[in-house]
Symmetry: C2
Subunit: 498 residues, 2 copies
Amino acid sequence: MIFIQIDRKTREPIFRQIVREIRTLIDNGTLSPGSKLPPSRVFAARIGVNRSTVYRAYEELWALGYVEGRPGSYLTVRERIPIAHELDDSTVGLIDWKNLTSAYLEDVVSEFSQYRPEGVKITKRECIDFSRLQIDPRLLPVERFRKSMNRTLYRDGEHILNYFPYAGYQPLREYIAQRMRIHGVAASMDNVLITNGSQHALDLITRVFAGPGKTVAVEAPTYANMLPLLRCNGVNIVEVPMLSDGADLEVLETVLQSQDISFFYTMPNFQNPTGITTDQAHRERLLEICMKYRVPIVEDGFEEEMKYFGKVALPVKSMDTDQIVIYVGTFSKVLMAGVRIGWIVAEKPCTDRLLAVKRFADIASNSLSQAAVYDFCRAGLYDLHIRKLHRVFRRRMQALQRAVSEYIDPTCLECTRPTGGYLAWGSLPGEYIETERVRNIFENNGVIVSYGNYYFARRPRNSGFRLSISMLDEDTIYEGIRRLGDAVTELQEKRHVT
Amino acid sequence: MIFIQIDRKTREPIFRQIVREIRTLIDNGTLSPGSKLPPSRVFAARIGVNRSTVYRAYEELWALGYVEGRPGSYLTVRERIPIAHELDDSTVGLIDWKNLTSAYLEDVVSEFSQYRPEGVKITKRECIDFSRLQIDPRLLPVERFRKSMNRTLYRDGEHILNYFPYAGYQPLREYIAQRMRIHGVAASMDNVLITNGSQHALDLITRVFAGPGKTVAVEAPTYANMLPLLRCNGVNIVEVPMLSDGADLEVLETVLQSQDISFFYTMPNFQNPTGITTDQAHRERLLEICMKYRVPIVEDGFEEEMKYFGKVALPVKSMDTDQIVIYVGTFSKVLMAGVRIGWIVAEKPCTDRLLAVKRFADIASNSLSQAAVYDFCRAGLYDLHIRKLHRVFRRRMQALQRAVSEYIDPTCLECTRPTGGYLAWGSLPGEYIETERVRNIFENNGVIVSYGNYYFARRPRNSGFRLSISMLDEDTIYEGIRRLGDAVTELQEKRHVT
């Protein structure tokens, strides 16, 4: 029998009083390990409080590790193990962790520490944000995916939750191979390796085919996350400038001629960050050059499925008769990011090596996500979803382009005109302007973009910026570009003044 | 209007005839891109076949990439992109991938290629298999987890599927920190980093704090997957022999004294593969030695929750006042492996470094799995599940130990007597015997075990083996150990003969 005094006059909530009193009884040994707490209903009646108050107190006691048992049934006092307190920030350990990591890793660590905390953008509420590249939550097929997940666990849960498909869930690999064939790529299931998203795919490729001291060539600008990825693998970076129709292939050829390059990393569709898509001729020439120097191409098939205006060239991989291309794909930018599914397509001697390292570095990817995504795809829902995205983004991209012609003075800003995807690139003509200055004027005008420095290995040198329409509807895009127009005009005027 | 001739006299199934005919119509341009196929009901009536036959044909056409649309609604002919065929095995690429990888990676690749294909054990059907370490599917809480998953997607799907918590889903990190405190470890959420399973955690730690040319000390035998993991990071391995009460600490001290060791990797509970648990004194001494030489300890908290006999010492991390221990935990061996969730607990300057590399190597772990597992844990179901496992495995381990006393001649085989977990280790006394010879005699007697060589960096040298009871009920364990008794007696007799 537990006796507790409830004080209804203090400001301490009743449930806290209950927690405090029972903790005292446990700490002083009055309640010994194994003792049952009275059922919440009985106890509530006895001390004259609401049952939900007692329930809340019991939950708190459970969370504090004082009692065990399933909430709702009998709770018993836990065997008392000294419960450690949280670590104090002031504790100084014996190991100098910084000293244990290599210099190139330490650079990445310090770079990462300068990132703003995730999700916390220090911006004014009323700004229109063109910086985020994520799937619009309004377009996520959550309910349909929930059903696929449910079906998967219902039908096959025991198997799926215990299954370790090193190279990936077989039916999904088959589906991806079939889908790659639709994009013209010669591939069977054996050429497909599932990864935890495309970033993980790029990391595996870098670990296996580059590594400390090696050099990789990238486009400039390029996918921002690729740069620290290369750096934390100790890889040197050579930049090949982007022209309006893709990477400068003359520069690429000079680079391949004069240096030992492990691979060339390229994103031929709606490139992140510029939105530029290369044409068939560019792709053929790229392949030709890399074949000549026997340098593998890592083709990031970012938004391969998001070609919604006119005809777009097939992947470089589709022409790859000599198997020099490693293709990387992902569901994250079209379907959903939280499932973490990407893939690699390459010839088997290449995927075999990637698989061995993947096998020992993380055993296998999440089988449950893979099976649920497969169920979703197999039911035709992925096709349906992509068609919906095409309808929506065709309109959004048109809105962007109309707004640009309407509100932007082309002498103040040049914008790319993408034929798909979510991204466009704005270039400020003239000399380089400090990012902080651009940012101030943009934010004063109520608009946020993603500034160009992040997309270059050697910074700062470019006052361009990325515009993403992935999260914005047409009206917002219109209004945002109107504000951007004001901002770049203001910038141009101030430039002439100084 | 599509005209098709169905031949009911051939052996070609009708649905295949429909597929063939429609493909011909598309290939020769009779059906142009965008044309609608007739609804399956209408088409079936017209050609006089069952509707499900037409449906099956349409599904096949969809899978072949000839049509698009959601099955059940109108299908249309796809825009014709040349569909590539599967890669022929005989294709020889231009790149010599083998030549691009470092020598230490190539060793791991060739080691991996010697693995038997996953799931395909070439064994007699009637053997009792003590080799598999997996959660018994009969004990997986699939239905309860399905509900957690459902609830997660229903309540919070839009957020969760788009969420990138670099260090992990915050509520789950809090839950794990609280759980670690119950095990005596001083930790708050900030010390917890979620990984894609514990293998991924060990890989991150190795990448960041060891790396090519560095040396790591491990127990011998040790967790089999740790050895290729270290090798594929270019790390040298020093072995510290296991005695009956844990790693030989005198040898460890000599090693730390004479060599530059990046960390010592240890599994203090129910060690994989020996089942040995170290006592409090051993843990204190281990910590003392490593503190003296300022060498970090990587403590693999494998089966921390599976202490079901008597009292077991708290983790080494619980005594780690000077923050030299990096603790690794996982849900894979207690809850379910398919969700791929593990974690690291260490002081913040250490996890900060691991997080930066994790951020750029795979962005974030699967947020959906994390949220669903959190829902499951928070409802008290994880506690409930662990209690159930304790009940079951207490009985299974007792069965193992009773069967060993009953059927095994101790002069032919010595077995460890674990106080928890799923594993025991058998040692054949006397000189080393070739694994193939042991395997033959064991399998002839109808029993499979996991042979010792895999658990040593330098092999072969030990004719011990691992016994896992994770998948076997009591009766099967009894019968299996009876067979093992016959096998080891036979082995001993033959040894004397030769």
